[in-house]
């Protein structure tokens, strides 16, 4: 497989998105947002409000949750929000690096205008996430460690970058969309979710179409073994993405002993498995319809 063939396939896949890209870029310009005008409270009270929708917390449905009084549940919901914002910061850092490296690459020139908006909007999201975490708590560490080198070709890495971006954003948006509508949440937490959801909606339209199109145009040339390796890699990515929602650092800050065992128990809890499956249904549908997945990533549920 030559690099010229791969570049030609990428151009073909990207060209079919022209109308979508024009429409999304126009919407981004019309909804241009300044993140530096937000009014930040001096302080927030972790036990005084909800910061994560209770039913979306990582202990909901477990016996541990059942045994917590409401102030402790609210405190947990605060640190869960800090974790949600932190994992968004780490995810968006990698996303912005990947977008920047693809800007004005000749074979992706057709989407360059929209990549500018994508990059700009991701940066603004991180302004809010970082603003919240640094003012009221801290940014939790990421356990993701990048090793040099990739087992995939450059073309496959392009596909994986956009597919992973879509998977990450689909999961995040499940939380954003619900929390944007939850009147129980502290107004600041609700606003950040609402704002993020409004822009992610456009990114997801782009991501779903591009992922499906890249697979359709590029994957047939990769061979059965490579396609299977990519599927396995993406299945593991789904598990990794979901594991970040069960962060022992959250449980330690919430006052629980042995936070690592609690993280494992929460991950294995049947109500949480059902929650992850429900939250991932839409994304799974997109990946299955495109042919990227031919079975569910069972380890995630």
């Amino acid at each position: 497989m030559s690099g010229t063939d791969a570049a030609s396939r990428l151009r073909e896949a990207v060209a079919s998105l022209d109308d979508t890209v024009d429409r999304l870029a126009s919407l981004s310009r019309r909804n241009y947002h300044n993140p530096y005008e937000a009014a930040w409270p001096q302080a927030v009270d972790p036990e005084g409000s909800w910061y994560t929708t209770p039913e979306l917390t990582s202990l909901y449905g477990t016996s541990v949750w059942d045994g917590l009084a409401e102030p402790a549940r609210r405190r947990l919901s605060f640190f869960e929000a800090v974790n949600f914002f932190s994992l968004n910061i780490h995810g968006e850092k990698m996303l912005m690096a990947g977008l920047a490296s693809r800007l004005y690459r000749p074979d992706l020139a057709g989407i360059a205008d929209y990549l500018h908006h994508f990059l700009d909007e991701e940066n603004k999201h991180s302004v809010y996430f970082g603003g919240f975490c640094r003012r009221y708590a801290r940014i939790y560490r990421s356990r993701q460690v990048e090793f040099p080198g990739s087992p995939f070709t450059a073309e496959q890495d392009d596909f994986l970058f956009f597919a992973k971006t879509m998977i990450f954003e689909e999961i995040v948006d499940y939380f954003n969309a619900r929390q944007a509508k939850d009147a129980r949440l502290h107004p600041l937490a609700r606003f950040i979710n609402e704002y993020h959801h409004a822009e992610e909606t456009r990114h997801l339209v782009f991501g779903r179409r591009l992922t499906a199109r890249l697979w359709e145009v590029c994957a047939p040339a990769w061979g059965t073994e490579a396609r299977e390796s990519i599927r396995e890699y993406l299945h593991a990515f789904v598990v990794m993405a979901w594991r970040e929602y069960y962060n022992p650092d959250v449980y330690a800050d919430s006052g629980f002993d042995d936070p690592w065992s609690l993280a494992e128990r929460a991950w294995q809890a049947a109500p949480q498995q059902a929650h992850r499956r429900a939250a991932f249904t839409r994304c799974l549908g997109v990946l299955r319809a495109a042919g990227v997945f031919d079975k569910d990533p069972a380890d995630a549920f």
Binding site: R141, S142, R143, Q144, V145, E146, F147, P148, P151, E232, Y233, A236, F237, V239, M240, R243, E244, P248, D249, D258, W260, S261, A263, E264
Partner: protein, 90 residues
């Protein structure tokens, strides 16, 4: 912190669960896990969660490199024993 033996058994079991069924029988404690592609970088966060649980202490991801996860022997020596080979603060 679990004993070295318990940690090693837990690690073997976890690695086998991540490898393809037909490959898990070929993995021993000296098998290069990442170089031979039994594991990839997307497995690292879950591996770190397991290691933190086994040792009952956090690991600083900023201080890690590919060599720390070369094989099961290396991982046990680095993270699951009180020996000098263990990463400082890691």
């Amino acid at each position: 912190m679990l004993s070295e033996r318990e940690a090693r058994d837990a690690l073997r079991s976890w690695v086998a669960s991540k490898a393809k069924p037909e490959a898990s029988g070929r993995i021993d404690d000296a098998t290069p896990l990442f170089a031979d592609r039994y594991l990839t970088s997307v497995h690292v966060p879950e591996l770190l969660l397991l290691l933190e649980r086994l040792r009952g202490a956090p690991i600083d991801p900023e201080r890690l490199g590919p060599g720390d996860f070369h094989d099961i022997n290396t991982i046990v020596r680095r993270f699951c024993t009180p020996a000098p080979g263990r990463l400082p603060g890691g």
